[in-house]
């Protein structure tokens, strides 16, 4: 190539700029994944947008995007209110962009609008796919098939020490009205954001390494925004919970939050406080059962004693009622011949000597005559 037409970098860049700006005059609605996002102190938002090849992790396109402060002031609250979470790394978004080229800063996409409904749909779809995958892999009921120990006292807790939820849990457990005592060991982990799944999994590995020291694993944090808690829909975290060697009890968020972590756990409760109550109830109901058994024993014993006493009374009554002395009291007499009781007139002959017993004493009698009823 002949070097007769040498131009400066600026000239070249200007030509690129001109051709881009002539060619791309519209606004374009594009879908992309946010791979980096930074909020500038002046109120602008800088993002790296990427595309991935279908079904692969490798990046097939990348561009820098900017939301200028004047737009971001409007876009940001609208997006957060509608999508229930802020724009963040890893999120799929539908954006309206204008193409801009600067000789100094290169190509950038200036974002003028974002459609939050697209991100909601994407996330829900991803969630449903994760649930289906876990179901197909048999993970949903794996942890819940582990038997719960009768007396779970040694509790491994994954939480963040500063989290209000952890303090609520400890307070509730420690202050239980029955005075049950638990041994708690905290394994710290970040409980929100993109690092949470990995952090929680690494804490779970530390617990699993000492599996014999514990009866249960509790994963807990207080409620938060949908975005804060989105990490509890993570597939890898769900698999780790499902396959954990101890029963895993999850107490994350508040009433309206139900996460994939809840589905794969042995048991899930609404809040850390409810988790403490769950543990206390196990002991309280066992103790109540023991009190009931103890009462059954004493009642059975009491009943048996009463029963035996009444048997004795009946016997005593029968002995008294059957005694011949009772008959003598009532005016009857009893005949004995040769020391034996006479029960039939045929046993006696005229001239026999008999003893007649009656109230107060005995008569010695000689039979002068006899009359049989039959004759």
């Amino acid at each position: 190539m002949v070097k007769d037409k040498i131009i400066t970098l600026s000239d070249l860049q200007n030509e690129i700029k001109d051709s881009i700006e002539q060619r791309f005059t519209d606004r374009y609605w594009i879908t992309a994944e946010i791979s980096e996002i930074k909020n500038h102190y002046a109120g602008h938002c800088y993002m790296d947008l990427i595309d991935r090849k279908e079904g692969e992790d490798s990046v097939s396109a990348k561009a820098q995007a900017i939301i200028w402060a004047n737009s971001y002031r409007i876009i940001r609250p609208f997006f957060e209110t509608t999508a229930g979470q802020p724009l963040s790394k890893g999120m799929h978004v539908l954006l309206c962009v204008q193409v801009q080229f600067s000789s100094l800063y290169g190509l950038s996409l200036v974002v003028t609008d974002i459609d939050p409904t697209f991100s909601i749909g994407e996330q829900e779809l991803k969630r449903q796919q994760t649930i289906k995958r876990l179901k197909d892999e048999g993970m949903l009921n794996m942890n819940s098939s582990l038997p719960l120990p009768a007396l779970p006292k040694r509790i491994a807790v994954i939480s963040s020490e500063q989290a209000a939820g952890y303090r609520d849990f400890i307070k509730q457990l420690q202050g239980n009205e029955f005075g049950f005592r638990f041994c708690i060991e905290l394994f710290q982990a970040p409980m929100q954001g993109a690092d949470a799944p990995e952090g929680i999994i690494s804490a779970m590995d530390r617990v699993a390494a000492r599996v014999d020291d514990f009866d249960l694993l509790c994963i807990l944090r207080g409620g938060g925004s949908a975005h804060d808690l989105a990490c509890f829909d993570d597939y890898d975290l769900a698999v780790n919970i499902a396959q954990f060697p101890l029963p895993v009890i999850v107490g994350v968020g508040h009433d309206h939050d139900y996460h994939i972590a809840d589905m794969v756990a042995h048991t899930s409760v609404k809040t850390p406080t409810a988790l403490a109550d769950f543990l206390i109830d196990i002991f309280a109901s066992e103790e109540q059962q023991l009190l009931y058994i103890s009462r059954r024993v004493s009642m059975a014993l009491q009943n048996r004693i009463t029963e035996e006493k009444s048997k004795l009374q009946i016997l005593e009554h029968r002995i008294i009622a059957g005694s011949p002395f009772a008959l003598l009291e009532r005016g009857y007499a009893l005949l004995h011949k040769n020391g034996k009781r006479v029960t039939d007139i045929d046993e006696i002959l005229v001239g026999d000597e008999v003893d007649a017993f009656l109230k107060g004493g005995k008569l010695k009698c000689i039979v002068k005559s006899k009359e049989n009823e039959k004759e």
Binding site: A150, R154, I170, G179, F180, E287, E308
Partner: protein, 61 residues
């Protein structure tokens, strides 16, 4: 399963059986006191296990 858990479950099972024997009117009177004594021992043991503190871990403070 740890030892105290096995102890508890076994004791509870034995307890259930013994209570049934105490409640059975056909049980010989001479055996009753033996059963009651054993039942009380087991109840005591179970309650101890419920409230026992395990020393191998730090307590919550």
């Amino acid at each position: 399963m740890k030892k105290s858990d096995i102890d508890y479950r076994t004791a509870l099972e034995e307890l259930q059986k013994i209570v049934e024997k105490i409640e059975d009117p056909n049980t010989d009177l001479r055996d009753i006191s033996k059963y009651v004594k054993r039942a009380n021992e087991l109840i005591k043991r179970c309650r101890e296990l419920l409230r026992e503190i395990e020393d191998n871990l730090p307590k919550i403070t």
